[in-house]
Amino acid sequence: MTDENPVVLELRGITKRFGPLVANEAIDLVMRKGEILALLGENGAGKTTLMNILFGHYVADEGGVFVADGAGALQPLPPGSPRAALDAGIGMVHQHFALAENLTVLDNITLGTEPLFRLSRANSAARAKLAGLMQRSGLKIDLDAQVSQLSVGERQRIEILKALYRDARILVLDEPTAVLTPQESDGLFETLRSLAAHGLSVVFISHKLHEVVSGSDRVAVLRGGRKVAEIPTRGSDKAQLAELMVGRAVSRSKREPRAPGAPVLILADVSVGGANIRQRLENVSMTVREGEIVGIAGVSGNGQAALANLLSGLVTPSAGTLSLGGKVMSLCDPQEFVAAGVGRIPEDRHHEGAVGSMTIAENIALETIRSRRFQRFGFLKFGAIRARAEEAIKAYDIRCPGPDAPIRQLSGGNMQKAILARALDDAPRLILANQPTRGLDVGAVAEVHRRLLLARERGAAIVLITEDLDELFELSDRVAVMFRSRLTDSFASADLDLKTLGLMMAGHDNEAA
């Protein structure tokens, strides 16, 4: 049915090379009015490059972009000019938002649309236009709130409103759900649906199959810079799309039943002080045994970060006790925790997990650089450091130029593999996996899951903090929910359904639900 709608955008034969790397190769793509197109592909498949060419951040080496003008005739879009793209009605919402935190929502939206020098601003006109837009799109937001006070989901709404305010007819979203909770993601797709119904054309970049299947009309699959498929979403399924995206069948690991062993981690009434809910823990009690995975669910910002910091050794409890293998850890310090056999996978691998400018080998030795293995009288043993990295590269199949390459050159999945190698290789008793697959592609997700299940098999106790509910149910033996700095009792994941969990995440206790 959407095939009858007029074409609003056409990409013809787009090719883009970065040195020897071909990021896009002869890609053709057509967008029609009022449809939602998903651009699916693994990290590095060329999705973002293609959208950056569309928006004028990059100039294609070959090919061109054509946008329908007011009369519906396709006109070439001048390459390399975001201004021209904006004028042609293309709006882009980047993965990392471009908002001024210290300004209000209204200021952020109108920024750049007004003449530079004018004494009074025509705020009332802007407010009226935005009120209409909010009415139609269902994007509700307080225009006078300061951006720094708003959640990630709200900030994304501002970005979308910003594009709509500039009369975008084509909206491009780069990995829009990467930073959202499941609930926020659902809300986003509802919004996109209603916008499309009003005639907006939407392209979103994703590597998450479920949202592609549920949220789009048509899917274009990119692999290795080429468009390998373009199919209507209706009638496709996840397995088929996964295979198209990865280029081979993806095997998923399965959690085998296993009786848990002795307790490894015991939190008894632990509290951690902090300025807000995010950083605080209140009377948290939890036991994690050998060979079991305890999943921690919850809406982002309910204290998961504090729990992760606690289990990483970054903060010391203000009350209560944390014991590891029967020993109470009174002084919390990451080095002590690593020495006590805690393997830690941080939430943000770029920020906390790795030092981007240092080499892969140095990053793998980062936590244990003071051990006898890597230093003698304070002098580094380069041979040992590199040998360890080479083992890890082989064992974890880290795709890289070599152990001496800066780790920032790696893709997200390969960087995560390096972090896994560091965290898991010394057979830790306790593993903290904080959002271990966020932003990873299907192949890398499967690898992370396989490694965690292997560790469980070996007898490690695992705390899995995740916002990905599929992952939560797939991996966890038991599930507990964080809400406002408190942790609920845990429940066997087999006994929980999505609805109950959703209620728990919203703060209703299980009994009431």
């Binding site: 040195g19 001048p78 390459p79 906390e352």
Partner: protein, 358 residues
């Protein structure tokens, strides 16, 4: 409109050619004010080169000026590596010199090696302590060290003025505000007779080599690199950001303090308030030119010293202001920094808004 696009693999020609090109461009740019001053540019640069490299006197003068620049360059290089922006090397240099004078001008006496070691330790410790305050304020309270270290320079300058006009004033100075002279036993020996090249050069070069080894090959250096590049990741891995910063601050201050020791005990013999013509600030330029590499600091210090010496003799011979030296160094720094950017990125000029598209 102009945009920067990252280059995936810069060619070797680009990597090694860019700095050379940058040096040439800075000379071309510096020709503009020379022309404005009505000078023959080729003659001026000829005088400059011969003034820096054309005689034994010129060469030893370059070496003498490079000596403190190596140390202040190291002070900046090691601190900047850890993202501790110490702009206070000038003040730390003076405090180091003051400490050397306090120990070495008659309060104690002993065999020369002991005295020299004594004033070196005193100067290094004094410089390190000067950095303690700003570092603690930065780590604990988030106070911007650029501001605190910069302002301390002026406080130190006034303090030194007070000391050499008051308690430490030389009674034999006929009223000049200067300290008592360093004892012979505490004076750094000359490396070449009848020149200004002194043993401070050896200290400076050893310090540079030592710092290079520290940064590349040791656990503390590993920590400094990690903390500098990513404090969050370093903290997560269990490194103490506070301790690392204190170490870096102490080393940085100590190097600047040593520069002051060398100037007062190797060159001037007593402390005046014009001991340093801005070596502390020039050290930042040296460190940036060296790309923050400790070994590279040696070469950069010689380069900057040569420009200063050459431009000095040019300004005397051609009667242009000696500030032209500062100008050339500044243009050189800007060119080198820009060439660094252009090595890593390529410039894309986007076409006019209604250009060709197909």
């Amino acid at each position: 409109m102009m945009r920067l696009e990252p280059r995936t693999a810069p060619s070797p020609l680009l990597i090694y050619g860019a700095p050379v090109l940058a040096a040439v461009i800075s000379l071309v740019l510096a020709a503009i004010p020379l022309l404005a001053a009505g000078v023959n540019v080729f003659q001026a640069y000829g005088v400059m080169i011969s003034g820096a490299l054309g005689s034994q006197f010129a060469l030893t003068e370059v070496v003498a000026r490079a000596t403190p620049l190596i140390l202040t360059g190291l002070a900046a290089a090691i601190a900047f590596r850890a993202k501790l922006f110490n702009i206070g090397a000038e003040g730390q240099l003076y405090i180091g010199a003051l400490a050397a004078v306090a120990i070495g001008s008659g309060r104690f006496d002993g065999p020369a090696p002991l005295m020299i070691l004594g004033i070196c330790i005193a100067g290094a410790v004094a410089g390190a302590l000067m950095m303690l305050g700003p570092t603690v304020l930065k780590v604990k309270l988030g106070a911007d060290e650029v501001v605190t270290t910069l302002l301390l320079n002026f406080i130190v300058a006034l303090f030194v003025q007070m000391m050499i006009e008051g308690p430490m004033k030389d009674p034999m100075s006929m009223g000049w505000p200067q300290s008592e002279p360093i004892l012979d036993s505490a004076t750094l020996p000359k490396l070449i007779d009848k020149t200004r090249v002194h043993a401070g050069l050896i200290i400076a070069i050893l310090a540079a080599i030592g710092t290079e080894i520290l940064m590349r090959r040791t656990v503390p250096g590993f920590r400094i690199r990690a903390v500098g590049a990513s404090p969050a990741a370093a903290r997560f891995a269990g490194m103490s950001v506070t301790k690392t910063m204190l170490l870096v601050g102490a080393l940085s201050g100590a190097f600047a303090g040593l520069a002051g020791v060398g100037e007062v005990a190797g060159l001037k013999g007593y402390l005046t308030n014009d001991l340093s013509p801005g070596y502390g600030y020039a050290g930042i330029v040296v460190a940036m030119l060296a790309g923050l590499s400790p070994i590279g600091v040696i070469a950069a210090a010689f380069f900057v010293a040569a420009v200063f010496v050459g431009a000095d003799s040019m300004s005397r011979a051609m009667t242009v202001s000696s500030y032209i030296a500062n100008l050339i160094v500044a243009l050189g720094l800007l060119s080198v920094l820009l060439s660094g950017v252009l090595t890593r990125y390529r410039i894309r000029w986007s076409l006019p808004a209604r250009g060709r598209a197909s």
